[in-house]
Each structure stands twice: as C-alpha cells, then as structure tokens.
C-alpha cells in the first residue's frame, strides 16, 4: 500500500506540470493547446540528451527553453498567421516529431545507463550526507525533488498571474474586446501565455525523462487528454473559484489520477491498457457535462409538456 502511494506521489508530481500547463492554456487563455504531446517529448528528449552528455541539471532549463520555442511557434501560427488555435497546435505537434527525432540523434529512443540524473544526484547526496534524517528519507528522493520543483513553479506562476502582465493574459481568455480596449495587444498576451504553458509541459517531460532514464518518441501520446483529465478531477475535488485554485487543482488532480492508475496497475481490476480509453471517456463526459445536463432538462420539459396536454385532452 505504501508502495502504491509512493509511486502515485512520484508520478503525480512528475506529471503535475502538464495539467498546470493546460490550466494556463485551456482555462486561462481558453485555447486547447495540442502542442502538448510533442512538447512533452521534446522536454524529455532535451533533458535526457543533456544528462547523457553529463549535464543533467542544465538539461532542465534547456528543456524548458525548448518548450518556450514550441509554444512560440504555435502562438505565431495562431496570432500572426491566423491559423485556428487547435490546428496551430496540431501543426506544431506534427513538426515536433521530426525535431524530437533530431534531438534524440535520429533514434526513436534513448536511454541513460550510468550517467547521473538530477534524481540520482539527490539520492547519492542524501545517502552520503551522514545525517540520519536525510538517510531515512532517501527512498522518497524522487517524490521530494519533483514536489519541490512543482511547488516552486506553481508559486511562481501564481505570483505571475497577479502581475499586470498576468492580469492581461487572464483578461485575454475572458473578454477579448475588453482587452483590445485596454491597450493590450492580444497577440502578445497569447504568445506569452502559450510560451509559459509549453515551458511547463517541457519541464514535466524533462523530469519524467530523467526519472525513467529513458525517452521514447511516442512517450507523449495522449498526454494532453490525461492532463485535461487530471485538471478536471482536481477541479471537481477542490473547485474552480477563485481562479488560483485551478493550479492547486491541477497538482491534486495529477496525484489522484496516478493513485487511480497505480491501484488499477497493482490490483489488476482492469488491464492497464484500458486506462487511456477510460481517461478519454472521462474527459469527454466531463467537458460534455453542461450539454448533457441541458439535453436531459429539455427532455424533461418535453415530457412534462406532453403530459400537461394529455391531461387537458382527457378532461
């Protein structure tokens, strides 16, 4: 049981920046950013290749910078060339497949063998520290490191979103007319928002890559839907208002999702291959919920209406 919780916390924090990124793009900017899948692999590829070259720490900021570039391409296509936002993401995502292969040295997967990662560095550091309390938590090194990174960046984003630039970005997703009337250039705010969101996705990829000591060209498939599922799960648990709850919801949702994943994996109530289908159904239902509720209330109205008429006819 403890093992399940530990695994869930590790993966929950490692992947948490993906729902945080989607919170920025999907909730704040109101853009479904499909760059996410490719951007996640890009982050992982940059970070693993850097670790392979002996620079695991430098690999993290570089991966984020690569993510910023990916976000910029999507934003440029959307704001300047007027490509619809979903298509912009898909185009960038498709292009990233080749870029990712290029980063990985034209190989579809790359693994770390004896090279250090940020995780192994912390693990060794804790072991050698000769401080009892540090040695005791050595097993939890991955949870600690990923949690610290996630919390730092979550706080930074929260602080950023209440700055004047942050407010402008939030207003862009809220009321575009008002933004233009307030001397804000929406092309600029959308670009900044997408760059930050993709930096966060790449950060998550970078952490996952070094943690698993491997990167695969297909490891990002479906990440965007899983991220949305995490965000929606989190929002269901802790709510959406005031808006800063969204970031906390993203992180909590990511952990809850991984708890569910771990339980399914270890108890084998379902073959684990089913998870992506279930995730997709959960996301579709959650996003469709308002429409479904409306349809049911409309059907109810129709039934009441015909009943009312029937009653009169009988009388």
């Amino acid at each position: 049981m403890l093992y399940i919780i530990k695994t869930a916390l590790e993966l929950g924090f490692l992947y948490a920046m993906v729902p945080v990124a989607l919170f920025i793009s999907y909730r704040v900017l109101d853009i479904a950013d499909l760059t996410t899948d490719g951007c996640f692999v890009l982050g992982a590829a940059v970070s693993v290749m850097m670790a392979k070259a002996g620079h695991p720490i430098l690999g993290i900021p570089l991966a984020m910078l690569a993510g910023v570039c990916a976000g910029f391409v999507t934003a440029f296509l959307h704001t300047k060339l007027k490509v619809p936002s979903i298509l912009s993401g898909i185009i960038t995502n498709t292009g990233l497949y080749t870029i990712n292969l290029m980063v990985m040295g034209w190989s579809s997967n790359q693994s770390l063998l004896k090279q250090n990662t940020i995780f192994s560095m912390l693990k060794n550091g804790l072991k050698k520290s000769n401080v009892l309390i540090f040695e005791k938590i050595t097993d939890w090194y991955a949870v600690i490191l990923s949690a610290v990174i996630v919390i730092i960046f979550a706080l930074l984003i929260l602080a950023f979103l209440s700055t004047r630039l942050g407010l402008s970005i939030r207003a862009t997703g809220d009321n575009l007319d008002m933004v233009r009337a307030s001397s804000i250039n929406p092309a600029f705010t959308i670009t900044v928002g997408l760059c930050i969101a993709n930096a966060m996705t790449a950060l998550s990829g970078a952490m996952v890559g070094q943690y698993q000591k491997t990167v695969d060209i297909n490891s990002g498939t479906g990440i965007v839907v899983i991220g949305l599922a995490c965000l929606i799960i989190g929002e269901t648990i802790i709510g959406r208002r005031p808006f800063f709850k969204g970031i906390i919801a993203a992180i909590i949702g990511s952990i809850v999702y991984r708890v569910i994943y771990a339980v399914v994996l270890y108890t084998k109530v379902l073959p684990v291959e089913f998870l992506k289908l279930i995730t997709a159904i959960v996301v579709a239902l959650a996003i469709a919920f308002p429409a479904i509720r409306k349809w049911f209330s409309f059907q109810g109205k129709k039934i009441n209406h015909s009943r009312g008429k029937g009653g009169k006819d009988n009388a």
Partner: protein, 265 residues
C-alpha cells in the same frame, strides 16, 4: 482635435454583398466637443466609430487625433488615447476577474511607469476605491468580487469608469445605455455627463433617443448612407426640436428617418 479626411470604407468589395459604409467621409471635431449622433439603420454610425477606434483599417482617407495621424495605428495602440463603450454591457469588462483587477487593467492604458511584473499596490486600491465611490453604487465595498456578479447597469457604470480612468483624448459611446432599464440608463447618462464635463473629454455619442440627442452635448450629427447630412451646433441647435430634426433629416436625404429603435420622446 479629431479629423476624418475623405475616409471611405467598403465591406465585401467586388462581391454582390458589397456595401459602401463610409463614402468620402470628412468631419472635424474641436477640443472639448460633445457630439451626439443619430441616424437610420445602416447609416454608418458604428462603422465610423470602428474606423476611428481601429477595428479595421479604412480603404482610403486619413484619420488624425490630437495632431497625430492614427490611420494605420493598430487598435490596441489607439485604445491608449481612445476610450470606447458599447451597447452590450458584457463587452467592456472581464466577467471572471474582480472589480479591482478590471480597474487595474484599465489603468494599463496610462502606459508608462508600470513594469509588466508589478502587482496592484495598496495605493492603487485606495485610488480605485475613491473612483468607485463616485459612481454611488456601493461597488467600492465589493472590489474583490468577480464582475460577472454585477448587474448590467453596474457593469456599464464600471466600464464608463474604466474607459475614462486614464483620461482619453476621445471617448466613443455607442448607444451605451440602450440595453439598460430607463432608471439605470438615466443614472449612467448623468455619470457620463459628469465625467465628460469634469475632465473636458472630447466625446461622440450615438443615441437613438432624439430628445437626448438634442439635450446632451454641444453638437449633433444626423447621419445617412455613410455621410453626415446635417451638422448642427450653437444657437441653431438650442432652438431645435425633435420635429425640426425629423424635417432636417427628410430634407437632407429625401426620405423619412428609419431606425427601429428610435425614441421620439
């Protein structure tokens, strides 16, 4: 102050739907003018506002504001010196953000002295409070609430405050009280007069209320088919009645004024 010189704008050119919304349109406003504008449906009133505000770039002609040529200045840059309000109260404010945050965004129009990473300071909040209390709607005690919770009239009053918070060179009001109930509309009109007079803002207001068009401001335009057919101010205007205005319109265009929202009261 404001000059539109031979401005023309055709929508959907070269198609059967082509519509010349402004044709060789010229108008000059003096500093401090408050112009009310009435006209039939499709006369080009809102198109003129859109041209001035930069929603689109005009086909030909030039637009100058305060000596600066703004013909090809993008919309978001023009909004630094032009305040604008629409009929729809939902258009001017961001619903999921708080009153305070909306005001902070409006304050960005002053342009200088703000780092993009600065937060709303206590001094800003104090200033927002003072300005909100001028509206007399008790909004100063609800600064943390999302704007989406306010009524249409409150949102429109807030939008007015935001549009004039950093005094604009020109204020464009596009039937900004038309969607409000009569009582609230009166209140917003009073606020508009107060703020415009106090800050001596040059202002243009589209209205469908002919009486209001003659009472407020110092000048009135009658518009038809993308042109100003009657421009009146001073003594001639003060003697004018609503019926005179209808006659003028007929004389200027050869047809009766046709606006489905027109109020003659």
């Amino acid at each position: 102050m404001l000059d539109l010189i031979n401005v023309s704008m055709t929508f959907n050119p070269g198609t059967p739907n082509a519509k010349q919304a402004l044709s060789d349109f010229s108008v000059h406003l003096d500093d401090g003018d408050f112009v009310t504008i009435i006209g039939s449906n499709g006369a080009g009133k809102s198109t003129m506002f859109n041209a001035i505000a930069g929603t689109f770039f005009v086909d030909s002609g030039s637009i100058k504001l305060g000596g600066q040529d703004i013909t090809y200045l993008p919309e978001h840059k023009r909004s630094r010196i032009i305040g604008r309000m629409f009929q729809d109260p939902l258009k001017g404010t961001a619903p999921s953000m708080s009153i305070e945050e909306n005001l902070a965004l409006a304050y960005l129009r002053s342009g200088e002295g703000f780092s993009p990473f600065s937060h709303i300071s206590n001094r800003d909040k104090q200033e927002f409070r003072e300005k909100l209390s001028l509206l007399g709607m008790g909004l100063e005690d609800r600064m943390k609430q999302p704007v989406g919770l306010l009524s249409g009239g409150q949102r429109q009053a807030l939008t007015l405050l935001m549009a004039t918070m950093v005094t604009p060179k020109l204020l464009l009001l596009d039937e900004h009280t038309a969607a409000l109930d009569p009582g609230t509309a009166d209140k917003v009109i009073e606020l508009t007069k107060d703020i415009v007079n106090k800050n001596r803002i040059t202002c243009m207001m589209i209205t469908h209320n002919m009486k209001q068009a003659l009472e407020i401001g110092n000048r009135t335009f009658l518009m038809s088919n993308g042109k100003v057919v009657y421009d009146v101010k001073g003594e001639e205007r003060s003697k004018l009645t609503v019926n005179d205005l209808l006659d003028k319109f007929k004389a200027g265009t050869g047809q009766a004024l046709d606006n489905d929202r027109m109020l003659l009261s």
